[in-house]
Symmetry: C2
Subunit: 674 residues, 2 copies
């Protein structure tokens, strides 16, 4: 352990035995985008409430929030759970500030225990003080008992305190007060995902991978009906091939990961890991397509791609490796290609709305935002209520003939009457992709301060059965009857193809199990206790809205699937209502920024000119405030064009662009976005 | 084109216009393992038969065979189809030999056209001679008309000529005369796979990926019933984590691919691409498993792994990236772990026998051959009749407590009566994997000189419907009735969940379509012509054995699925018979080598001592002959222990080891192998 060598250097001694338990936390203050953050380490007695206002004042920083895993990793080289006082050393001088509970510094010969996942260490108060002094980091003693009694939580004090009341197993961060912290907790505590020791990579645990598998099944059935076949192309690309389409590669080059060594041998030429597969596949398309009879060619692959972004990573939304499907198809005519682009876009909307219960807006990207090297890009765009930001859901591109000309995907014209005069016809191509990002959107939209809320159609488990009401007074016979009854409910549901499981763990109370199932987002809880036994029924509690319902045992096989479908529909309706309320049509610029600041997306008349689009983005950034880091920029970033919705509001004669003085050509949806 | 600059340097001119067509082929002679091969380029008139005996004599080499893609790539940097005279230059001096048709060299001012996928070039005979002379490569003029009339093909002259008779679209190499050449053709012409421009990587086209998808479906259903969940761990591993288990990593280190750069930035530390995921996953297992209630933990992932082997690659069997599933499970006791190892092994045997119609032998690996760092390895072993070699099918490992001790996967003992006295219990772990190698084994076992033969249960398409008997004399009405009848057959089969398609392409004759479907391995061909129309029946031809059968139209929905199942059963029975005939039990060393040379696997009594196992391998190599390259070593390589079969022959009292003088402990299956 690091501190041991540090202490040795100080000629100080770690105490044996156990002392007063402490906690060591890392906070990140609000920081200008261009500046490196200075984390604030807080060391306090475990029982002390570490009020953030007090920390802010003491450390002279703005809005400290619990730091995310990546920041802790970056500064201390360990996870938050492994972090302790032992990880502070002289190299961190001027890099961090350390706020220490006065009770510890004053506790001369009192013993304090510093425990983390990496181990525990007990030290006298004076040793702590000496150690910190020796490292040279800025140490700020604080009397936490001086905290104001009721810390004023700005937007939603009630929710905040509810979150703070949550049990240890539960979520301790409020969705609307600290969205990134909440998102991270909900995913890890809900066991969807775990952080990984390579930055920007995450582990998809069973409950998130199950969502992905359901999406795969649903989508595969439908694309196969359209004549698409699945294939697998290699993950490696030679640099020569990667760089063949210039516009296209420019978008990806800064993020390409390169393999330069195998075993102990340097490779003759570095080999790239695919960031997407256009240039991987199309040389072979050119070879395989020799005649119009080889068209259409429709291939898709489920794979992982790598984009080594240096921006702040975020689980599911921005990760260095991610899973997706990428379809690549080739057609004789624009008409065919275009029809497929729209069909696929409808399937993407179906994945969001029918499976994930997340409403989306279909539309087309502006020239500025379209896929590099393509002809046009269609998109489904979602909305994250907690941040008021838009999010791109999935894109279906028509590539036109750009790639076919570059890669010589060409056939002889079989019918000049039908296809025009040209002897050679360059094929029309599409590519379309949907990634595991969808899971992040689903979690952000539905989940709450109790944990995950997962729509029944995609959740790994749909129903948890929990035996209840067994107390010291319960007779052996009654207990056996309740347990047997609960197991029978589980078995019957499984046989009716409901993904049900029973939580029969003896050491946990029903209440604990309720919280655990809520944390994990199981859509329906079925309680089975003495009353249920007596009345031959079960008590159902819906995860999404907490509504209770009694279902007769006789009706299980029909009522429970119906209930699950109702939960699914209710979730979609609720999310749709929210999205509809936060998609505001405005006609003038003053309203534009106002509505944006009200956490809305705005649909506004627009001239269609790229310079104006850029002006809109710049002008809608909150100039008064300091710019923040990318991942937390919601309140101040400028609005991008998200899409030109297919469903256009009717435009009145003479309508002008929301920003410039030009005539408006169409309505465009703008928003701050991910 | 390369030759243009070369010609420019020579002050020579390429002719315009078209001349006599030529062909340019690359042969690889038999070469000692330690030596670099010297390819023989043959340039001849297109119509000239380029007899290999003659080439061998002229060039002074042994057994020249058409070179595979990788060799051509290695020497000339292009694919065989792109290769032409233009790719020969001075840098190849002493690296290659060029055998040239005398007709070309003598053809002074005659014009010859050299065409490849990369373009065509016409040159006068003297220009060709001057160009080749200028490169400095060894040029050997040959009069191909001097070839012996009937080249003696050793083992199977009849099959050989049959293959040579095959149409251009078909396979032109005989399975038993040139197995690697046949395998490569069958995969590419059958459209299962294509070669890729990164060496050792291949493209899985729809018909091979479909086999993989069927395996996934079958296996997923069964492991999920066992309580296994699918997950996805990142493909990247930090070097620290990768190297944590020493024995284990030693086996993989020389083949690990390293990412050292992203965009233009060098990474601080190189990051490995997983060769397998034990060390990727187990740190997290340690974190997630806190109590005996967290056991068993059963996770599986379908992913790609990278092993940058420098040995000769072979599609499906040895590729630098391959797809597989890897299961990683954790149990309280050895009993549980062991039971699962065997259950999984049964599933692997099921994939081979029930889906791929490939018989396997189940058994356990010797200490020498087991998984590095594991406790024991079980395996299913197959047999490739054409080469007489064994092939490892898939392995299910019990890792014991080795990894759990290394990664601290430990729980408190909840019940000392049940689990013994120790306070802490290290978990018992398994890992098990099956890769796309299975597809290669399937192809090698069943396919023939006409093309692929794919078992109906896994083939992408099961039935092709071909309208027949339409001639110039056919009336419009009759033609329409035949076409409509064929389409109706297709539709009815699809509705009965048979994967049927119709081949209605007008430019091809039925005969051409038959060959095409045979090449691609469609299990059943249904012909529908005037006679079938008249008799309300269809004519069925089975791909596996060419048997014809008439099925009444009325019975389609029952008879065709039954026929497909019969094909499946027939294929398995035939392959099993062959394997059984070539798995020979021997008791003494003289028979051991003899039977090995007869293309058999041998089951022999063995002492169980590792040194003896090594001695068997060394002694069974054909010492008299030169050692060849790994990929072609079948005839001479030594025999490895493949497995100790679970089904042991009864051992007589006093039986001695087949090799040494020790008492035999058990029967072990040995063989030359992949």
């Amino acid at each position: 352990m690091a501190i041991e060598s540090a202490l040795a250097a100080l000629s100080l001694q770690a105490s044996t035995g156990t002392g007063l338990p402490t906690k060591t936390l890392v906070f990140k203050p609000k920081t200008a985008k261009t500046a490196t953050p200075v984390p604030v380490v807080v060391i306090a007695l475990a029982e002390t409430a570490t009020n953030t206002k007090l920390i802010a004042t003491a450390a002279g920083v703005k809005e400290p929030r619990l730091a995310n895993e990546d920041l802790v990793q970056e500064f201390f080289g360990v996870t938050a759970k492994q972090f302790s006082i032992a990880n502070i050393d002289a190299s961190l001088k001027d890099q961090i500030k350390v706020v220490v509970d006065e009770n510890i510094l004053k506790g001369e010969s009192e013993i304090f225990t510093f425990a983390s996942e990496s181990g525990a260490l007990s030290l006298e108060g004076k040793t702590v003080a000496a150690f910190l002094a020796a490292t040279g980091v800025e140490v700020i003693p604080v009397d936490f008992s001086a905290a104001p009694v009721a810390p004023a939580a700005k937007p939603a004090p009630k929710a905040a305190s509810a979150a703070l009341d949550a049990k240890l197993i539960g979520v301790t961060v409020d969705k609307f007060l600290d969205f990134p912290g909440w998102y991270s907790q909900i995913l890890t505590k809900g066991e969807m995902l775990d952080y990984y020791d390579v930055s920007g990579c995450y582990i998809m645990r069973p409950s998130s991978y199950a969502v992905w598998e359901r999406i795969q099944e649903w989508f595969n059935v439908r694309i196969k009906k359209m004549g698409v076949s699945n294939v697998y192309f290699p993950m490696f690309v030679s640099s020569k091939v990667l760089e063949r389409e210039k516009d296209h590669i420019e978008g990806f080059a800064p993020e390409v990961a390169w393999v330069t060594r195998a075993g102990n041998s340097e490779l003759d030429e570095p080999i790239a890991i695919r960031p997407t597969s256009e240039t991987v596949m199309y040389p072979y398309y050119s070879k395989w397509i020799q005649s119009h009879r080889d068209l259409p060619l429709k291939l898709n692959q489920w794979n992982s791609v790598v984009r080594w972004e240096f921006k702040h990573p975020q689980p599911f939304l921005r990760t260095r490796e991610f899973l997706w499907q990428e379809g690549h198809t080739v057609h004789m005519t624009f008409g065919e290609a275009n029809a497929e682009v729209m069909q696929i876009l409808d399937l993407y909307a179906g994945i969001y709305e029918e499976l994930l219960a997340v409403p989306v807006v279909k539309g087309i990207k502006t020239e500025k935002e379209k896929f590099a090297g393509g002809y046009f890009t269609t998109t489904v765009e979602g909305y994250i209520p907690a941040t008021g930001r838009g999010i791109q859901g999935a894109t279906s591109h028509c590539l036109g003939q750009n790639f076919s000309k570059m890669f010589n995907i060409v056939v002889e014209n079989p019918d000049t009457e039908k296809y025009g005069e040209d002897e050679k016809l360059f094929a029309w191509q599409n590519s379309w992709g949907l990634s595991t990002r969808v899971i992040g959107v689903m979690v952000m939209v539905h989940s709450d301060n109790k944990g995950l809320v997962v729509p029944p159609r995609v959740s790994k488990d749909q129903v948890v059965v929990i035996p209840c009401g067994i107390t010291a007074k319960t007779t052996k016979e009654e207990e056996a009857a309740i347990m047997a009854g609960a197991r029978a409910v589980e078995t019957r549901l499984r046989e009716a193809n409901v993904r049900a499981f029973g939580d029969y763990r003896e050491i946990y109370s029903p209440g604990w199990k309720f919280s655990d199932a809520e944390l994990k987002g199981v859509p329906l809880r079925i309680e089975f206790g003495p009353k249920d036994l007596a009345s031959a029924s079960v008590t159902c509690v819906r995860r999404n809205d907490g509504q209770k319902e009694t279902v007769a045992l006789a009706d299980l096989e029909t009522a429970i699937p119906a209930l699950l479908e109702d939960i699914q529909a209710t979730m979609l309706a609720k999310a749709r209502k929210t999205f509809d309320e936060h998609r505001v049509t405005v006609e003038n610029w003053a309203d534009f920024v106002k509505e944006l600041n009200n956490k809305n997306l705005v649909v506004a008349p627009w001239c269609g000119i790229m310079e104006c689009e850029e002006d809109i983005k710049d002008s809608s950034a909150r100039n008064g405030e300091e710019e923040e880091e990318v991942d937390e920029k919601a309140p101040s970033m400028g609005a991008k064009s998200l899409c030109i919705p297919f469903a256009q509001p009717e435009m009145k004669e003479g309508t002008k662009c929301v920003k410039c003085e030009e005539k408006a050509k169409l309505y465009c949806m703008f928003g701050r976005s991910y």
